[in-house]
Every structure is written in C-alpha cells, then in structure tokens.
C-alpha cells in the first residue's frame, strides 16, 4: 500500500508536486496518469526517498520507505531514468543489489528468467537495447519479492510482445494481493492495465477514480441507428427524456433509450433497421472530459475558499 498525503516538492520557485494526496491499495493496479512534466517521476522519487519532500508524507506499507529494514522487500521500483552502470553485466548488477539484502543467488536467477534475460545475463548492460534495459529494470524491481511494485513508464521501448508481458505480469502481481502502481502519459495504456486511476497535472491531483467509472461515463453517448424510414422511427421513439437527432439521410442518434428498447419498438412497428449500436466516446475523450471537470471543480473550490 502506498499512501501519499499532501506531498509537495519545490525547486526554488518552481513547484513540481503540489499538495498531492492519493492511495494505491493492495490487490489493485493503480495507474498514475498525467502529461509529461506533471510531477509523476518526482512523486515516485519521493516515495522511495531519493528526493526529500518539501512538505507532506509518503508512506509505503505504513512507514516511510527509508525506515524499513528490507526496503526492496517492501517496494520494488523501476525509475524512468537509467539506473544501471553500463559496464556491469545484468547478472552482476542484480547480484550487487541482492547482496545488500541477503537475497540469494537463486532469486537473482529467478528474476532473470522471469524477465526473459537469460541469454544476455552475462553481457554488459551498455550493449542492451532500450527494451532489454527496461526488462532489467523490471527484474530489479521484482528482486526483493516486494509487496509493492512501482514502475515509471514500464512499457517505454518495449516491443508489442514485451508490452503484453508487462501487462500480464502486473495483473498477475495484483492478483497475488500486491500493490501495483505504474505511471504513463497514455490513457490507452492505462485502460488495458489499471483498475484505478490517479490523474495528475501540473503537480496536482486532478482525479482519483476507476477505469470502470470512466468507462461508464463514456458509455452514455446515445445509440446510433440506421433505417430506411428515419422519419417514422423518429416519431415512434419520441417521448419524455428522449432526444433523437439526425446524423445523415438514413441515420439517427438516439439518447435516453437503450439498444434493446429501440429494437423492440422497431420490430413492433415493422421498421427495418440496418444498424443499431451503442455509441461510446473513446476513453481518451472521457479522460479529457474528466480532467476538465476536475479542473473546474478545483477552481470553484478555490473561489469558495477565497
């Protein structure tokens, strides 16, 4: 579990993270979403104690990360920036980290196999492709068999097979009851991996929600109908709370009725339908809407406070 409360980081007069609060609970994949420069990486660095917060706290399983006796067993992290000496082999890199905690060599070999690095384990990391470097970073994050896994842009540089591997891996880790948090600036990536979403912009929390809630939001955009008798269908469907708009010669968009009801009405009156489909906005659009709303709520709050 990761609990972030009022976390703030200022560099001079620039505020990178501004009073951020959120929770990443166990057993779920929490997506940390926001555009580049939103403060995601800085937040993650503060969670693992690399940067000291200007204000607020970040707790990992109830304690600041640095106060744990075996930090790598509490939280495994993949940071966005390179964190490996290019002259060392993948095996030696992982061994060096393993030694600090008394993690056995067997476990190092296990994560090497898990990350698909077996064939290159004894090559210098400097010769690795971006994708292999990413796999090594993920292997390092899993080394201590941690209760929390936190990955910054894990699919960066991975090929499609690698992307699928990361997705399945993370879902599997969450299914085992671990806390999984991953950051991305791509909504589409999050939709396929995360259950929960923490959306940030300019260092502030814009929304803490679930992917399901977002999907629900995006579902209600009306039903697309194509028929040979649009005018007749239009009058048949008319009623309180129903709006029908024309979207071409034979096309209508109906809101306030679901596909089932429209189909029944059409069958009853023998109106032929060529198409009947629930329209949905893309998650990306819903996400934009959501963040817009969040920004508006925030400014209203600010107005009330003033």
């Amino acid at each position: 579990m990761i609990e972030v409360r009022g976390l703030t980081k200022r560099y001079g007069d620039r505020t990178a993270v501004d009073g951020l609060s959120f929770t990443a609970p166990p057993g779920r994949v929490t997506g940390f979403l926001g555009p580049n420069g939103a403060g995601k990486s800085t937040t993650m660095r503060m969670i693992v104690g690399l940067d000291a917060p200007t204000g607020g706290t970040a707790l990992v399983n109830g304690k600041p990360y640095a106060q744990h006796r075996a930090p790598l067993q509490e939280l495994g992290v993949l940071l966005e920036a390179k964190a490996v000496h290019p002259g060392r082999s993948a095996f030696n890199h992982l061994m060096a980290l393993a030694y600090t905690h008394g993690v056995p060599r067997r476990r190092v070999e296990e994560v090497i196999d898990l990350a698909g690095l077996h064939a290159v384990a004894h090559k210098r990391v400097g010769a690795f492709s971006l994708g292999m470097g990413q796999r090594l970073g993920i292997a390092a994050a899993l080394l201590g068999d941690p209760a929390v896994v936190m990955l910054d842009e894990p699919v960066n540089g991975l090929d499609p097979e690698g992307v699928r591997w990361v997705r399945e891996l993370l879902r599997g880790l969450a299914a085992e009851g671990r806390t999984v948090m991953l950051s991305s600036h791509l909504m589409s990536e999050m939709a396929q991996t995360a259950d929960r979403l923490v959306v940030v912009g300019r260092g502030r929390l814009l929304a803490e929600t679930t992917v399901d809630a977002l999907v629900e939001r995006s579902a209600d955009k009306g039903v697309r109908v194509a028929t040979g008798e649009p005018a007749r269908l239009r009058s048949l469907l008319a009623g309180p709370g129903v709006t029908v708009t024309s979207a071409g010669a034979e096309r209508l968009v109906v809101s306030g009725l679901d596909t089932r009801r429209i189909g029944e009405v059409a069958a009853e009156h023998r109106v032929p339908l060529y198409e009947l489909a629930a329209e949905s906005v893309s998650l990306e659009e819903a996400f934009m809407q959501l963040t817009q709303d969040a920004v508006e709520y925030q400014s209203v709050d600010a107005g009330r406070a003033a």
């Binding site: 690399l50 940067d51 640095a66 930090p71 964190a83 890199h93 060096a96 600090t100 905690h101 891996l169």
Partner: protein, 271 residues
C-alpha cells in the same frame, strides 16, 4: 510464470552493514575499469620505482658522499605521486561514477539510509588500495634493491625503518583512495572530482609558496601529499616534512574531515 518465489513462507531479508560492504565489494570487482586503474597504479609504482633505481649513479643528484641514507627508498617510491592519481581517480569513479551512470538511484533505492553506502565504499576500497599500493611498493623496493646491490645507498628489507616506509606508502595511497571516494560524493562529477584530487596532490603543495613563509611552511607540511611523504620517508630532513607519526595523523584528519563532509552532503541532498 509467477513473480513470487517458490518457497511457501516469504523469505526474511534485511539490510546490514556487512551486506552493504559485500555489495560494494562485488560492484568494485565487476567493473573492468577497477582492474585496469588499480593495475595502472601498481604499474606506476613498480615501473617508475625500478627504472629510477636502475638509472641511479653515485654521481647523480641522490648520490655522492652526503647521500641520504634513505635514498634507496626515495627511488623505490618515486612513482607514488602518479600512483596516487590513479588510486584517487578510481575512488572518484566508485562514487561520482555512480551519479554519472545513474547507478546511484539503484544503490540508494536499495539502501535508502544512504550512509552505510559511504562507509562500505571506504571500507572496501581503502583496504584494496592499501594492499595494492603496499604490494607495489614492496615489489618496487625489491627490484630496486637488486639494481642497487653493492652501492653505498643500498638498503635491505630488514634495515630499520624500511618496512615502516613501505607500509606508509600503502597507508598513504589507501587513504588517498578514501579521499577519492569522498571527493566524488561531494562534487558528484567524475571529471571534477579527479581534477580536484590531482590539484590537491600535485599542484597545491607548490601554491603554499604564495603564503607568508612561516604560515606557508606550516600549511605545506600538513597537506596530504607532504604528510604522505613523511610517512614513507626514512629520515625527514629539514623543515619541509613532519615526523611519520604526525604525518599519518594529518592524513587521518583529512580523511575524517572529508568523510564528514561527504556524509553531510549525502544525508542532506536529493540523489
């Protein structure tokens, strides 16, 4: 494929000082640059020392009637300054190098209390640098002894003070290694760290001439390079050097100051 270990009960891991030392030891030896730089340091000691001894003639600057009885050691240890540069540079690489590659983020994510890493780096590298330098000094002296056989200045390993000087050379370079590690952590830049170290070892002693002479002499004697000379010189002559005990104490004081500075920066600054 599961990410968990096959064991039924979760293993109990824990960070300890000894384990951090083990980790730093493995980090040191798993880089080719460590082997090369350490080899270069030993090579400087042995090659320069034995060449100096081989080129010795009684009419040369160190010969003559009033030749210093410690001249054989002076010749054998002629490569110390250059070796100090190599040893110090390797110390800087061990610490500042991690900032350059980003390895430092992995290091401090594993040991977020940070200070154990500083102690471990010094505890690993100080003794390694000491052992390599003492060995290099010994080999250089033995080769030199063979070359100087029969000369009036010839010394043997059993002569009074010889062993202390060779050991002193090892201790001096071991501490220069520690200086390198700490300077690297203070400036976090490999190039900057090596430049500072080279300046302190090679250039600074010459600059004390700019100070008023009494003050300049006092300061000069306690600079790392001159204090280092005192621990490996058989007979400190004139005012330029303090005795070996005082010299060693000065070297330790420098180490403590640098360690304190590095520890402070490590605790206070973001990685």
């Amino acid at each position: 494929m599961s990410a968990s270990t096959s064991t039924a009960t979760p293993p109990v891991y824990r960070v300890t000082g000894r384990r951090v030392v083990r980790s730093e030891w493995s980090k040191f030896w798993s880089l080719r640059s460590s082997w090369i730089t350490l080899g270069v340091a030993v090579l400087f000691l042995v090659a320069i020392g034995s060449v100096a001894a081989a080129l010795y003639t009684p009419d040369g600057p160190l010969g003559g009637k009033d030749a210093d009885s410690g001249a054989a050691l002076t010749l054998a240890l002629a490569g110390t300054n250059l070796a100090a540069l190599a040893v110090g540079a390797l110390g800087v690489l061990m610490s500042a190098g991690e900032y350059g590659t980003g390895m430092v983020r992995s290091t401090f994510a594993a040991v977020p209390s940070r200070l154990p890493v500083l102690w471990a780096k010094c505890a690993v590298y100080g003794p390694i640098a000491f052992a390599a330098a003492a060995l290099g000094a010994l080999v250089s002296f033995l080769i030199g002894s063979a070359a100087l056989h029969g000369e009036p200045i010839a010394l043997s390993l059993g002569d009074a003070g010889v062993f202390r000087c060779l050991l002193g050379a090892g201790l001096y370079l071991g501490l220069v290694g520690v200086y390198g590690v700490t300077v690297g952590l203070l400036v976090r830049s490999t190039a900057g760290g090596i430049a500072i170290l080279a300046g302190v070892v090679l250039v600074l002693p010459g600059l004390t001439g700019l100070l008023p002479s009494s003050l300049g002499d006092t300061v000069s004697r306690y600079l790392p390079s001159n204090a280092g000379q005192s621990v490996m010189t058989l007979h400190a002559s004139g005012d330029s050097l303090v005795g070996p005990g005082a010299g060693f104490a000065a070297l330790l004081v420098w180490a403590v100051l640098l360690l304190a500075g590095a520890a402070y920066r490590l605790r206070r600054s973001d990685v």
